[in-house]
């Protein structure tokens, strides 16, 4: 079981990184969108490896099934022919590179500092109890308030969308 | 028909009955005015058909023929007006919108120009076609050979 899990983990990790890089460098925006989807799916895969299948499902349905569909919709509706022809890499290439280096340095330092804790934890005994129930209990007991606030926020957003759509129709 | 004669007098050239169908020959210039009169007072509210007949030997060679029908009186009337090859005939599109395509077809087949028509262009034949087929002098085998050759790439349609 151990080797297979690790093999899968490595596969997902590499897939995520590669598609992220490809995502940024693509000229054709639709290819970019597809690579973004592969990145999200590979992170979902990693969730699954950690037996957090509820998170896996939420990631798949919410991100890939919902938000990305919106992305692809917008890409289709907006006329992209002229935007594709513009030069992708303009002069800020420099500044971006420098910033990335700084960020990378910070990451490395953090990993190096905490290297002691990086041992792969032994598999947590038998497979953890139903992950969904665990998430549900936590959600509705300790984090009741943030859950309600979030739902109200969503409600407001939905109503806002409807109102905007209504005005455009008239 | 008597009412028409009384109303327009000289404009009505002749009025006859052929096969028990009323035919009234009128002056082309007064066509629009007479048709408006027919539609409003005489209740001929439907233009059934508008066509043309080619009499090459006459100096005004074309007969523009309007068949009218009145729902109220369940009667038919045929107005005929002479039109020359060059001078345009008045269009009755504003009185009966039905005339739009029929006048376009007359223009396409006979070459009668209807002035006052919203957009007079050929309806059945391709736009660049030369010649008007239904004229008597347009031989049945004749075709606009250069159009055929240019567009279809074959020697001749026959």
């Amino acid at each position: 079981m151990q080797t297979l899990n690790q093999a899968l983990f490595i596969f997902f990790a590499v897939l995520a990184v590669v598609s992220a890089i490809l995502l940024v460098t693509r000229r054709n925006i639709v290819h970019g969108a597809v690579f973004l989807i592969t990145t999200l799916l590979s992170t979902a895969g990693i969730f699954l490896l950690l037996e957090a299948e509820f998170l896996f499902i939420v990631q798949v349905i919410l991100y890939v099934g919902g938000i990305m569909v919106l992305f692809v919709f917008v890409i289709m509706l907006v006329n992209l022919d002229d935007s594709m022809r513009q030069v992708q890499f303009n002069r800020q290439w420099f500044v971006a590179g420098a910033l990335a280096l700084v960020l990378a340095a910070q990451f490395l330092f953090a990993i190096w500092a905490g290297r002691g804790a990086l041992r792969l934890p032994a598999m947590a005994g038998e497979i953890s109890p139903k992950n969904t129930e665990a998430v549900a209990d936590a959600l509705f007991s300790h984090y009741m308030l943030p859950f309600e606030i979030a739902s109200i926020l969503l409600l407001v957003a939905m109503i806002g969308a409807v109102v905007m759509a209504k005005r455009r129709v008239e | 028909m008597q009412r028409l004669k009384a109303r327009f007098g000289d404009a009505i050239r002749e009025a006859s009955l052929d096969h028990k169908q009323a035919i009234v020959l009128i002056a082309a210039e007064r066509l629009r005015e007479i048709s408006r009169y027919c539609r409003d007072e005489e209740k001929f509210d439907m233009l059934v058909d508008l066509t043309a007949v080619d009499w090459p030997k006459r100096e005004k060679r074309f007969d523009v023929v309007l068949n009218l029908y009145s729902f109220a009186k369940n009667e038919r009337l045929r107005l005929k007006a002479h039109a020359g090859e060059t001078e345009p005939a008045p269009s009755v599109c504003e009185i009966w919108p039905a005339a739009n395509w029929m006048e376009r077809e007359c223009y396409d087949m006979f070459g009668i120009v209807f002035e006052g028509h919203p957009d007079l262009k050929r309806i059945l034949l391709p736009d660049e076609w030369q010649g008007h087929p239904l004229r008597k002098d347009y031989d049945i085998l004749k075709q606009d050979t250069d159009w055929v050759r240019e567009n279809l790439g074959i020697e001749s349609g026959q």
């Binding site: 509706l77 | 096969h19 049945i140 279809l152």
Partner: protein, 384 residues
């Protein structure tokens, strides 16, 4: 034969501009080879998103110059050409032409011929409406009615085949009467057809009339009010669906229609659903006429005494009949020779199609298909 139109179509085709669903309109070309334009009709639609901003019908792909040919044929020789115009209702074309020439000659077909002509024309009307219903339903997406309609239409075509040997372009009538005596099983066949046709119509009705989606797709689509209809010269079921109670068979009876009583179905809103209901009702009325006519077909000659060579006196005549699509008129000018000087055909489909632009304005793309179907056009008649 690669008709000139297609090259023009390709060269003249407005390139569908690349702004996908941008603000400005898109020009969408439907036809001439489009599955639901009932033949070779090309419609140029100016779309604003899904709505039709403007439309222009481009016809002439099937133009064969029938009227020019008429001037080089004798009266009898021209009769078969008439069937080729509205090939779906060939018999009623033939009736119109033969009666027009008979009027020109001043003769009348004998009573027996007139009754048989009425029966065959009414059967042809049912067959034409069946074909219309099948294809119209298919365009809107109902896959089944087309097969039921064609099953019934097959019965009628069998009767035509037994009578005059041909199914579609029958050339069933001759100037002055009929060519053939009715075959001996004629009355039984017609009676059998009419009897079991009654509950067949109810079968279609149950399938479509109360069908929520059918009503949703046809109600309020392609509305044409009475004033517009008369102004545009529209005739036939389209006019009756707009509320004008007018049918040539009642207004100016011809053949043997005055002997039978039947009523004229009309509706008032003039949308696709009303035209559907009017045509279904018309089928029932035609069935009634056929039943009454078959009861007593008078005996007697079937051909008026006119010479082999027809030389009508110079003059002109306009005669029109109620074809399934509308008023089909013949304006024949004769100059005393054996060949007509000018034959003008008043094609109902051609003039009804003119109303398409007014009906399609503001409709959705899906409705355009329904509107073309509801006008019931046959391109052979539109282009002549």
């Amino acid at each position: 034969m690669n008709d000139g139109r297609t090259t023009k179509a390709i060269s003249g085709m407005d390139s569908v501009n690349t702004t996908v669903l941008g603000a400005d309109e898109i020009i969408l070309n439907m036809g001439p080879q489009h599955p639901s334009t009932h033949g070779v009709l090309r419609v140029k639609l100016k779309l604003d998103g899904e709505r039709v901003a403007g439309s222009e019908c481009i016809i002439g792909y099937l133009h064969r110059g029938v009227e020019k040919i008429a001037e080089h044929r004798s009266y009898q020789q021209f009769a078969p050409y008439v069937d080729r115009m509205d090939y779906v209702a060939a018999v009623s074309n033939g009736l119109g032409y033969c009666e027009a020439v008979e009027k020109l000659l001043g003769t009348e077909a004998p009573p027996r011929a007139r009754v048989v002509r009425t029966i065959l024309t009414e059967l042809q009307r049912i067959a034409s409406h069946l074909l219309w219903l099948g294809t119209h339903a298919l365009d809107i997406g109902a896959l089944t009615p087309v097969f039921y309609c064609f099953r019934e239409r097959e019965e009628i075509l069998k009767i035509f085949e037994k009578y005059c040997g041909a199914r579609l372009t029958t050339h069933a009538f001759r100037i002055g009467g009929l060519q053939y005596e009715t075959y001996d099983g004629f009355e039984e066949d017609t009676k059998r057809f009419c009897n079991d046709f009654a509950h067949k119509i109810d079968e279609y009705e149950t399938l479509l009339t109360e069908n929520r989606i059918w009503v949703g797709r046809t109600k309020g689509v392609g509305i044409l009010n009475a004033a517009d209809a008369i102004a545009l010269g529209v005739t036939g079921p389209v006019l009756r669906a707009s509320g004008v109670q007018w049918d040539l068979r009642k207004a100016q009876p011809y053949a043997a229609y005055e002997q039978y009583e039947f009523d004229i179905p009309t509706r008032d809103t003039g949308d696709t659903y009303d035209r559907y209901v009017v045509r279904m009702e018309e089928m029932r009325q035609s069935r009634r006429i056929c039943l009454q006519a078959v009861e007593n077909i008078p005996t007697g000659p079937i051909m008026a005494r006119i010479g082999k060579v027809l030389k009508p006196p110079p003059g002109e005549v306009y005669h029109s009949i109620e074809a399934p699509k509308g008023e089909l008129g013949y304006y024949i000018v004769s100059d005393g020779t054996t060949q007509p000087y000018r034959v003008r055909v008043r094609p109902p489909s051609f003039i009804n199609l003119q109303a398409f632009d007014r009906m399609a304005k503001g409709a959705l793309i899906a409705d355009v298909v329904a509107i073309i179907g509801t006008i019931d056009i046959v391109l052979g008649e539109v282009d002549r």
